[in-house]
Subunit: 335 residues, 2 copies
DNA sequence: TTGTAAGCGTTATCAG
DNA sequence: CTGATAACGCTTACAA
């Protein structure tokens, strides 16, 4: 009769009296079960079940000064890579009994500033931060944080903030080099316009491979948006005919394939294309898009796991920069 | 000197003494600014700024018995439609100052059960629930909830749970009918296998249009997964040659286009294809996929807005079933 | 208009 | 091993 009654918020007091113990004992069986005699523990557990008691996480948070909550800050969840990463984070969060608060910034600095204030107000125990256009200002923000932060799918150049990602520079170095080894000479990199971001690392890897081979590097920077990319590519490829294009994102690679195919250029015969990320789109594209596999689910999962360690002081906060391995997946957009 | 000091958690007491008022007054300027004399209000505000005070959301939640937090329960964030919907929810949540907790169930009933317990323990003020494979059990769960729930992108057949979605039946009725009006007779619907879901509504709309026209309905049900769809379609279209295929999801439509094109069938000349959702994939597909536009961002946004009303008792909990308009977008997979 | 004080539902520190 | 009791940081009557 007491069970499941809609508005009957049952508290620890109710359980205590039901089990004929003090509330302290109930609290103990919940948090340190080994510290209470098996038979009373049993009695309390029964009372809990009978009443359908669920500890109030808010009261618990206030009293214990930890919320077992983490914030996940992302620019936009509709990007395939961030969506998949979120799955990784939430799966591991569940495993370690953390609640996750989702904050999306729409990549706007003003919102971003608010968001940091909000998550502090929420008393989160840790923060997972995904921002592939990290600025100095953002890094400063993180360093002032009194709760642990892990950068997800990015790195801090100075290794002062914990992070989880692949080695972007090596990935693009290897990707570029594999074409060079096949004898290609005219290799274009399509990157994005943005002050400072992981794309700079990708560019660096590309340039390194190109220069080592004594070739000429060639980078064009475009928007990340489909509506502007398509016409841009159609224009560009009227006059320019590289042998290979490496794109910093699959979506760019795929829209390039479409734009260029619509122009009558044959892929991979006349132009080879390599993407980055291995999203669904790379499999759905025709021809299917060869791509550098960025294990984004794992990156999310490992980030969350790392954060749990940081929150429990099992790990030093500095110099924890996890590098996950990457792969190149050859499909039909390359010979 | 007190500002920004890492571990100096400044509380309402600190602000009170800094401003020479009682903590109650500080609380008032935060919650009912009009109830405090402008000059003291000013003094308090200054103190707040000077100390960099941020109210502790947890303590506030405990005292006020509301958390200004909502839970967003989804099966999987990597599905394009749910990702975009989440953007809608978070944008509106931000506008109304709600924090959102993200719970992903991986479409597993066991996790789902846990999740509901967890969100209750979290003392959320409301729940947004996205599940396109709703069972009786789930509906039961919702009805027992003592906090408002809104179904997002689904409807409860009995209209007892608030919901926001398009009229799925009408959408597929109209989609089907538009082909019938162009003289097509052999129209196949590709749906998914699943006990009970919105796809049943889509099927119903299709069947209605077909039967009204005195044609023969034809539904095949497949998995939602790319890896199984592709070979399935290749097999199916060896022997079957409908004029039109309507798919219950863009991803199914797009993989059908790929499978069938790889078989040498010309789209739209030999087969027309209509998808559902208007995801990025429908624009990236070649030929581009005609599709029923499901305004999923808006659905998320409206759901959250509705939930705010429900949480403030501005709306009746029963019979709030918002139907958003839909559109058909004709692209190159249809004549 | 402002202050006092009693909670909110836990955890955690003492004694016993 | 268990029970009182004081926090935790805030909201909210009720008094002044």
């Amino acid at each position: 009769m007491l069970t499941n009654l809609k508005d009957s918020k049952v508290t620890i007091y109710d359980v205590a009296s039901e089990a004929n113990v003090s509330l302290a004992t109930v609290s103990r069986v919940l948090n340190y079960p080994e510290k209470v005699k098996p038979e009373t523990r049993e009695r309390v557990l029964e009372a809990i079940n009978r009443l359908g008691y669920r500890p109030n996480a808010i009261a618990r948070g206030l009293a214990s000064r930890k919320s077992t909550t983490v914030a996940l800050i992302v620019p936009d969840v509709s990007r395939a890579s961030v969506a998949e990463m979120i799955n990784g984070v939430t799966d591991i969060a569940r495993k370690y009994d953390y609640t996750v608060i989702l904050k999306v910034t729409n990549a706007e600095q003003a919102i971003e500033d608010d968001v940091w204030q909000e998550v502090y107000a929420s008393q989160v125990d840790g923060i997972i931060y995904l921002n592939d256009e990290l600025t100095e200002q953002n890094i400063e923000q993180i360093r002032k944080s009194d709760v642990p932060v892990v950068l997800c799918n990015t790195t801090d150049e100075n290794n002062v903030v914990p992070s989880v990602s692949i080695d972007f520079e090596a990935a693009f170095y290897n990707g570029t080099k594999s074409f060079i080894e096949k004898g290609r000479k005219d290799i274009l990199l399509v990157s994005t316009r943005s002050a400072f971001s992981v794309n700079a690392l990708k560019e660096r890897g590309y340039v390194k491979a190109i220069e080592e081979a004594g070739l000429k590097s060639n980078i064009v920077r475009t928007s990340g948006r489909l509506a502007v990319n398509y016409p841009f590519f159609q224009e560009y490829f009227k006059d320019n005919h590289p042998e290979v294009v490496i794109a910093v994102r699959d979506s760019i690679g795929a829209s390039l394939i479409n734009a260029v195919s619509d122009l009558g250029i044959k892929i991979p015969e006349e132009l080879e294309v390599l993407g980055f990320q291995n999203t669904k789109i790379s499999k759905m594209s025709r021809p299917t898009l060869s791509t550098i596999d960025n294990p984004i689910y794992d990156i999310g999962a490992v980030s969350m796991r790392l954060l749990t360690k940081l929150m429990n002081d099992e790990e030093e906060v500095e110099n924890v920069n996890v590098i996950l391995p990457h792969d190149i997946i050859w499909r039909n957009s390359t010979k």
